[in-house]
């Protein structure tokens, strides 16, 4: 255990073995950190508000939380959770294994996130979003939830397994992004999409199957399903899943 002397760690917080806490970081009462977790400087973990109850913030083993991040109570992150800098994740977020969320990510809470999900920098995930496994969300994407803002109606977005939402796209309330689909950059998706299909534009329209896109590495192999050629940064057990998915498409 290595807690920097300037860190403020509640005696009620539960810290596993080999946890590192950086300078100027605050860990409140209702926090449970598993083994081998690094929490960098200037973070605040276990924030409470009028929507939080007694459930703790749980951070799984081998996680890495980068500087200036803020995580609320009543959220759970499975093992190998990784954040960029200045990430904000609110209450009632439940994330699976090896969730990665980039710098400036803003997860509004009340979300379910599957295993091996990747959010790049500066995504905004509205409340009631449901994210499958192996999903990719790129910078400045917004998942909305209010069909006629401001209102008390909340219709979260659903993103199915292996779907990819490219930079600066908006997904409108209640929309389902189907498995293996690709939302092109700068799109606005206002209705449910079909599996393994590319959507582009505002409002987004289907423009073909993802398998039509060829890798720009000279191989002319299909770029999708992406598990056929991309496994960088995943842990071993995820790579096995990616390989079996890829072989399904042979």
């Amino acid at each position: 255990m290595s807690i920097h002397p300037t860190a403020i760690v509640s005696t009620k917080a539960i810290l596993g073995e080999n946890v590192t806490v950086g300078p100027f970081t605050i860990i409140h009462d209702n926090v449970e950190i598993a083994d081998n977790v690094v929490i960098e400087s200037h973070c605040e973990l276990g924030v409470t508000n009028q929507r939080t109850d007694d459930r703790p913030l749980v951070v799984g083993c081998n996680s890495h939380i980068r500087s200036h991040s803020v995580l609320y109570a009543c959220s759970t992150f499975d093992s190998n959770f990784v954040t960029g800098h200045r990430v904000t994740i609110r209450e009632n977020t439940i994330a699976g294994k090896n969730f990665q969320v980039g710098t400036l990510g803003d997860i509004q809470g009340d979300c379910i996130i599957g295993d091996y999900v990747r959010f790049h920098s500066n995504v905004h995930i509205g409340q009631q979003s449901t994210i499958g496994n192996f999903v990719w969300v790129f910078p400045y994407v917004v998942l909305t939830n209010d069909p006629h803002p401001p209102s008390n109606i909340m219709q979260g977005v659903t993103v199915e397994d292996f779907a990819v939402i490219a930079t600066m796209s908006v997904v409108l309330p209640g929309v389902k992004i189907a498995g293996g689909g690709l939302i092109a950059a700068h799109s606005s998706v206002n209705r449910d999409t079909k599996e393994n299909t590319i959507y582009a534009g505002s409002p987004a329209k289907a423009v073909g199957e993802t398998s039509k896109i060829r890798l720009k590495d000279g191989s002319r192999q299909p770029a999708y399903p992406w598990p056929k050629h991309f496994k960088r940064g995943y842990p071993e057990e995820a790579i096995r899943i990616l390989e079996s998915i890829a072989s399904d498409y042979e």
Copy 2:
């Protein structure tokens, strides 16, 4: 008064009764905080630059400033001001009662903001913006000001009372968003809009009256004007105004 021992609070700053200052927060000389204000950790209040003068940062009573926020001198916030995390508000911002600005908000200064205004996460408000009362601005909206960037000409945006600007819309320099109007998500507004009218697209076009939109709660009641059905989170005196507005439309 509860000032954390790690906070750095200037002896020249004026703090009211029952003010809380969190760990690692800095309050500079020219700051006046009214009663019952909570300032969370890692904030910096009263920042100066070459555009600030002797006028203080004034924060009204019952305000709540969340962690990692940065507020400049020469700005004034009336009572019940609330911020999310990592908000940045520069000099010469004058905001009315119960202004709420979400996480990552970036207000560039030289702005006037009315009463009961709501900015969701990650809005960018250019200098010379003028915002009315009860306005709603959703994530990743940008209010611009330079008609031919970069230049020395600045034409701020005006947003009138009860207008709503949805996610990831850009309002171009000098444009006026008329009262009660709705700018749909992912729009780009390049000319003045009409009252109680929906605009969508890039460039945005009028697509009907806001009263045509029906609530998706099964009631089939009009979703706009929104004060008819939405009053969550407003203080009592604001709710009275919202109720009188709503009854005008009966």
Copy 3:
């Protein structure tokens, strides 16, 4: 030298004369700060990761790094570097003289940035971006790099001298924005552009020469090339360059 007593500065870091380090700021081992540099509060300089090596973070003289910023090792900034608040700049970023990057800027590393470049708030600069001299990038612009995300192919964006990319535009992978060009707000650029030409829309199309745009100051003079009328905030030697550029167009 003025290092706040709460700052944590490695004894291996090299600090020039008249360097100011604010409260709660961390400076790691592999950092070289030249003379007359101000580093504000809550920053972290010299961050390392699995992609950094022994090369230090180098910050040139007369620079100003605002609060809550995070700069990685293996990057070099020439003199008069200025950041806004909460800027993140990763490894292998090489920037020329008087680079200014606004609040919330997110530079992903592996970038080359010329002299006198201006990034406004909240830009996202993907890896492998190459930015010329006197370039302007406005808020919520994203420079992408992956032609079929996620993949291992990276095709960075090139932005040539004096080009301007307006608010909330996306530049797709491998695209070159030609010198003196103007990308209008809310555009999506999917192919190389021509010099001194305006592009707008999604996908962006050429809509005329930049010289057609007239200054809205009553003069009716051309607004582009912008060095003819705009020199605010540049140091003397840059103003001389801007003046010579402007006279070429007489």
